[in-house]
Amino acid sequence: MPKDMRRDFADRAELVAYLAAEFPAAAAESAAVSATRGGRRAAEALLTAIQPARYASTRNFLDGAVTRLSAYLRHGVLSLAEVRRAALRAETRPAEAAKLISELAWRDYWQRVYAVIGDGIWEDREPYKTGLEAAAYAQELPADIAAGTTGLACIDAFSRELVDSGYMHNHARMWLAAYVVHWRRVAWQAGARWFLTHLLDGDPASNNLSWQWVASTFSHKPYVFNRENLERYSGGIYCRACPLRLQCPFDKSYEALQAELFPGGAPAATPPRRRQ
C-alpha cells in the first residue's frame, strides 16, 4: 500500500526535523533552513508590498526595493501575469512599473528559450569571448569559494548568504558569478550547479542562462566589475572591514582588468553597458 508523506506538523521545527530525516542527502548538502517561508500566503504578503517606482531607481543597490518574489515565481506559487498586473495597479502610470515588468520579462524570456533548447541550457550556447578556450576553465568549484573562506569579505559574504538563506540579490549573483568564472577561471557549469543546490528560486533556465550571460557564452562580451562598482552598490559594507582591502583583486580600472583577465579577448562588458 503506498504511503503518503506526512502533512500534520505542530510547527516548523517539527517539519524541518521530519524532512531532514526523510531526505538525509539534502541535509548533508546543507542543513540550513531559510527564513523565507513557502506558500501562497507568504507570497501574497510580499506581492502587496511591491513598490515598482522605487524599484526602478534603487534595484541595483543591495538595499534597494527589490521584490524577493523569485522563489514563488520559480515554483508557480505566483504567476508572472499576476505580478505584472499587481505592478501596473501599484502605480498610476505604466511607465513607472516598466522597469519591474521588464525584469519579469527576463524570466519569461529564459523560459521561452528553455522550451526551445531544453537540456541544451547545460552546454555553452556560443564560444567564450574571453580569448580563452573552454578547456582553460576548471570543471570543479574551488573549495574556498563554496566554504566562504577566500578571505575576500564580499565574496565570502555572498557565498554564506547563498548557503544560509538560499537568496541573493541580482547584483551579488553577477559579482559572484564573474569572480568564479573570470577571476578563478572556473567553468560556469560548476558555479551554476552550486547555485541550483542552494537557491530557493533555483531555476535551470534563469540560472544557467544568466551564468552563460556572465561567462560570455550567451552574450557578446564577458561581464566583469571592479571595486568602485561593488563598493558603490553595496554601500561599502564589505570593503570597510575586508582583510584584503589593500590587496583587492577588484581594485583596478576596467582597462587593467581587461588586460589581466582576458589577454587577447574581446573588450569586457562593464557597467555603463546595460546589465541584465
Binding site: A25, G38, V77, P94, A105, L196
Partner: protein, 148 residues
Amino acid sequence: MSELVRPVVWIHADCLSPQHPALLAYPGAPALFVWDEALLSSLRISLKRIVFLYECLLELPVSIRRGDVAAEVLAFASEQQADGVVTSASPSPRFAAISAQIAAQRPLRVLPVEPFVQIEQRLDLARFARYWRAVEARALNTFPEDTV
C-alpha cells in the same frame, strides 16, 4: 481526446499555486505531488529548498509521495479509479519525458498556465532586446487595443 470526468490531478514543482488550472477545472479532484527521487539525487538540492517546497505543498489539497514520478501518478490514478490525469504545462524536458510515460498508459490533459503576455506572433529569441521590443507594449498595457 474525450473530456475527463473523474481525473486525478498531478501537481509538479513548476506550479504550486492554489489557483492551479487543474484544481480550478476539477474542484475536489484527488491531487498528488511526487518527489522525483532520480532528480533529487542528480540535482543534489539542499534541505532549505525541500522545506520551501514542502511549505508550498502544505497549503495545497494534495497527497505527497516519493519515488518514480510517472509510476506513482499512474498508481494513484488506479487507486482512485480515475479516467485520466490532468496537469499544468512546463517547458522542462523532464516534464515532457514524464508526461509521455503517463500518456502511454492513461489519457493525460495538460492545461496551460496564464502567460506573462498574450502574444500570437512567433518571437525572435536570439537576444532579449528583440524579444522585449516585440512584447513591451502588451506587457505594459499600452498596446492600443488594451487601453479602452
